[in-house]
Amino acid sequence: MDSERLGLNRNLAQMLKGGVIMDVTNAKEAAIAQESGAVAVMALERVPADIRNEGGVARMSDPKMIKEIQKAVSIPVMAKVRIGHIAEAQILEALGIDFIDESEVLTPADEMYHIDKSAFKVPFVCGARNLGEALRRIGEGASMIRTKGEAGTGNVVEAVRHMRTVMSEIRELSNKPKEELMTYAKENGAPYDLVVSVAENKKLPVVNFAAGGIATPADAALMMQLGSEGIFVGSGIFKSDHPLPRAKAIVKAAAYYDKPEILAEVSEGLGEAMKGIDIKTIAPEDQFAKRGW
């Protein structure tokens, strides 16, 4: 990826800001997502809640399904690949996917190395729990970052933890004198030039979204207030009682996250949200966020 391509890919992420990206598993759900006002859809075979329940190896989706979704909507189509699975990423690039999510929600293909995203023309989004992890992924060529959260739980607590951590580490870094930055880079395993860039600009060089456990309009508004620039919703929509009204409400909440009276109005009468799981009941080895490094 040359620097011009990298710029264009970061630019696409900027166009998604303030919007909601929804997990969909078929063309019909994709059409509902677009109808609700989603800025993009994420094509995957099973939503995270089902991956969690059913177990087994979770892989990239069938290209046939991805093509059907591409045909069904005019908004950008994203899809997930396993961490480190270079070939899955090549297949998605060949399909003309608009954004690849190298995702901890799928079963990792490589426990040592993430994909060299700079070798691709299409943009990548990656999950991060803290600033060091975000900068490692950006160093590998990611054009967009999202919190990992804990996907498929309908529980926002991990996304909050990850967003707060990244934002507070950015604030901390921007107060450091230059001579402390190399040590910061060493201790946090982050590329030095990116550490300098964050210290100077007081923000990540790419757009930062929230993901992993967002289930209600209030969850979306909370994440935006914490500094998120947009929202991924996975299981939260199609695992709820009434997907279309809930999807619409989350779109509205992302746009008007700072207007409580509007949040009150859109939160009304949506039916049951997905049931959700307390993170403490998930064994550490079963937590998606612990995948990748």
Partner: protein, 199 residues
């Protein structure tokens, strides 16, 4: 001293911050976040940013801003649509229903293809600027046809990518993603200031 111009950016979704930060660099201009009726009524001009046109259009309708915005533009409010903003303003959008339907242009969405086909190019657009300007096209639309009152400002390989009709300016590309203020300055000086001076 010239009075500060209140220049709005429709702030529902998309490249809102980028436009506001560009406006903030121009003297005597106050960038205004527009996502309420009150804010819409207060502005001397408005930018419809890049983003997803389907999302922005739905939010305009849901929050009762669609008709008031349409009326203000009809009455002469200067407006500039970048990318998604161009789609919102067009009278015809190939393959789907138009949105505000105010400008006499026919637009093709995602005309250049998917993200892999996004590109940037440096061009001379004498109508907008004396210097060459950088034009990033992100899953961009182009204009296939224009009505008789529409002035074509820039074509690229036979496709129209910038045009103007009375108080309406549209660009397929995103000056807000570059360091060049020329198009923002053009919109403010030639389109907003011109109207204000005639009041």
């Amino acid at each position: 001293m010239a009075k500060d111009l209140q220049v709005g950016v429709l702030s529902l979704q998309g490249s809102v911050e980028e436009h506001r930060s560009m406006l903030g660099k121009i003297k005597n201009v106050k960038p205004i976040e527009v996502k309420s009726l009150t804010a819409l009524e207060s502005v001397n001009g408005i930018i419809l940013p890049g983003g997803e046109s389907t999302t922005i259009s739905k939010l305009l309708i849901e929050f009762g801003l669609f008709e008031p915005l349409k009326q203000r533009i009809k009455q002469g409010l200067p407006v500039w649509g970048t990318c998604a903003g161009m789609i919102l303003l067009a009278k015809d959008v190939i393959g789907e229903n138009p949105h505000l339907g105010l400008m006499d242009i026919t637009v093709r969405r995602n005309a250049y293809g998917r993200q892999i086909n996004s590109f940037t190019v440096s061009e001379n657009i004498p109508a907008l600027s004396e210097q060459r300007i950088e034009l990033p096209f992100i899953r961009a639309p182009w204009i296939e046809n224009v009505g008789k009152d529409v002035e074509v400002l820039c074509s690229l390989n036979k496709h129209i990518v910038a045009a103007k009709e009375r108080n309406m300016l549209v660009t397929s590309f995103h000056p807000e993603l570059t360091d060049c203020l020329a198009v923002h300055q053009y919109f403010i000086e030639k389109m907003i200031r011109a109207v204000e001076n005639n009041k």
